[in-house]
Homo-oligomer: 418 residues x 2
């Protein structure tokens, strides 16, 4: 059975959450006015989705893998390779890739993990690092590139490396920078030990390089936190993933703001479309993103879109920021509701994971979702939110069910049996 | 724990669907007046069921396998063996079996895949084919038998065969008859190549035999489409399935209209009961079917019943036909509601898959179901339909859960643990 029905997955990153006393027991999503999301819920089929399985907090990478139908338990080899690919580094088999933050470090203690969410000058900082490590470390080539805001990627290339090493990033402020070490199960492995030594030398020497940078002297003069350290984490090697086209027989595009997810899209051979004004920050231009979907909608069978802003509010435990970000998602959806032909389109609106204000990080809470458009049987839900969607007729699915369900609505699934 | 409680699974084939603008946004099931089904819902426990898993369109064969607790991913080897068994052919290990249609073919193009749903004379056509291939093809025995309406089965018996070959049936009108070929993964396999050659010769020679038949000359004289070709599909070999009695310790019967499902029942060692008036068509006698259940109800622990008519309306995208077929299911249920002792019976009413009018084929949509009778905890649903059942307390289950749940209601499940 093959149809021309288009499929869209639209995710507000980390958009789900938990009830807050300050919102009279409502979540941010429930408290924010979201007329377009509510229209999706009212005209669609609602439910809850566990990206991995109930209670498991998903990363953005594992969640997107699962939702796109690639079981992360089978395929996930760490965040680093996606991040590196997403910023344009061509990761090769055997390379060890890390995701990194530019951070503010004083006396080996992490003062601020994101260097005040530095927005400008990281290209200059990255160039300084590249120059400093032009000769590599111990025969290993060092490849480093900046990404959005405080994010960056590090690639180690050469013989005798192993990705099974710990994070340098301690994942919280006010504590010492961690030493990179082999994971316990490979504590005595020479390649893992060597990889850890190289990472530690990179962290130490790059700290010296960055401290001397004009960018940081200028930031300090303006009372901004200096981006004087690089904290690698999420070591991994390139996974072997069947392409999106091979798996589904469809051409797919990604319009996403996070290099990590862009990298996944590139691995899957999807077209990763850049949008002017899509900053990945709170100031992103959600209408430009929606316009981009509308512009390519006829060209592709499938588009995945992710707006990052709600996740930022969640990580910062900033209620107002998260609610404004949700309003952004709502405006993008409103644009699509008016622009696309819903006789030949089906969309799933939701999130990749919850990032509750009260947690300040990804949680294992189930995510509200709604399917809308072609093939859908609208249920009785009329508001988009955690508790309202939970009463819908989708009930509770997993990320791994999404591609099957959305292709079924689009009449793109092959019958199993006769 | 062993009780005498009887268990019935009653399926309206393809009975679920999608909303239709012509029915003011209701499905056929929601629009048709169904007092008996509504009584089942009101007095029972409702929910949704995915026969295989969410979004996967199931065949009648794989759906019935799953609902009877035989995982089709583990056991399914193609439709042919069930179809052949269902028409009374004793498939042996190594035999390659095909499901076939009598079709109307002109200049090698399929004019009508079902020869106008031919109802009479296929026994004569089958006898002509049997005679023509009395000597077999290339040392392989050819066994052919007609089934209901345009359906038939073909069996190849002999050394050096392989079931991994493509369909001759192109599954649509107006295109050329396909050549049977080895599947790509066994393109160079001599047994698969030989099997394909034999099938192609059978198709060519049977076309010549049928064109000469008096049955077809008579049909053409009456302006009916001639059944002048046989289109095999769904090649498979006999699966090894544990008998129903061995698996469940119960004696089971099937009262079904489709040979495909009858064949499955025979494989499982269930008693497959024929009912006079059960035609498998729109004119089937639903009261005769309900009477048959009532007549054997005391003899069997378990009865599975399937009325085919709703699926026909779905495949033909005929709203009126599908609604009338649903009314037939409702009258059969009404009969059972009045005849059986519900203190010692539990029934699940539902479907094997959805066949929406708007799709004209099986879809991956979830199926409305209701359990009623012994052991059930009635919920708040009072109408039987896709959206109403979705609000019931069964929530969303899979076909593979059904036998466990219904045996649990019947107090026939062994305790796991102590």
């Amino acid at each position: 059975m093959v149809s021309d029905c288009k499929q869209i997955i639209f995710l507000g990153d980390g958009m789900g959450g938990r009830p807050l006393a300050s919102l009279e027991g409502r979540t941010c999503l429930e408290a924010q006015d979201t007329p377009a999301l509510d229209a999706i819920a009212a005209g669609g089929e609602c439910g809850l989705m566990d990206p991995i399985s109930p209670g498991v907090p998903a990363g953005s990478d594992t969640a997107h893998m699962a939702i796109l139908g690639y079981d992360p338990f089978q395929y996930y080899t760490g965040r680093g390779p996606f991040e590196a690919r997403g910023v344009g580094l061509a990761v090769k088999a055997g390379d060890v890739a890390f995701r990194c933050n530019f951070a503010t470090v004083e006396d080996n203690v992490v003062k601020e993990r994101r260097a005040g969410r530095i927005k400008e000058g990281t290209d200059v900082l990255a160039a300084a690092i590249t120059e400093a490590f032009a000769d590599g470390i111990d025969g290993i080539q060092i490849i480093f590139e900046q990404s959005v805001e405080h994010r960056a990627a590090l690639l180690l290339r050469g013989e005798g490396l192993d990705h099974r090493v710990t994070d340098v990033d301690p994942h919280q402020d006010g504590v010492e920078v961690h030493l990179c070490q082999p994971l316990p199960e490979v504590a005595d492995d020479p390649a893992a030990q060597r990889t850890a030594r190289i990472v530690n030398e990179f962290v130490q020497r790059s700290h010296e390089v960055l401290a001397d940078s004009e960018v940081n002297k200028d930031r300090q003069a303006r009372n901004l936190l200096p981006a004087n350290a690089v904290l690698p984490r999420g070591a991994g090697t390139a996974p072997h993933l069947q392409s999106f086209r091979q798996r589904y027989g469809m051409n797919g595009a990604m319009i996403v703001e996070v290099d990590l997810v862009r990298g996944l899209g590139m691995y899957l051979g999807m077209d990763v479309i850049s949008v002017k004004g899509a900053t990945g920050g709170m100031n992103t231009d959600e209408i430009a993103i929606a316009e981009a979907i509308s512009a390519v909608w006829r060209e592709y069978d499938f588009v995945l879109c992710n707006i990052k802003a709600p996740d930022l509010g969640g990580h910062d435990s900033d209620v107002e920021a998260k609610m404004q970000a949700i309003a952004k998602v709502d405006r993008a959806i409103d644009y699509l509701l008016h622009k696309l032909d819903w006789e030949q389109t089906v969309i799933m609106v939701g999130a990749d994971h919850c990032t509750p204000i009260s947690v300040g990080d990804h949680s294992g809470d189930a995510i509200p979702i709604a399917f809308y458009g072609h093939g859908v049987r609208p249920d009785f839900v009329d508001k988009f939110g955690e508790r309202s969607c939970a009463t819908g007729s989708i009930h509770r699915i997993r990320g791994g069910d999404v591609m099957t369900i959305i292709r079924s609505y689009a009449d793109r699934m092959e019958k199993f049996g006769a």
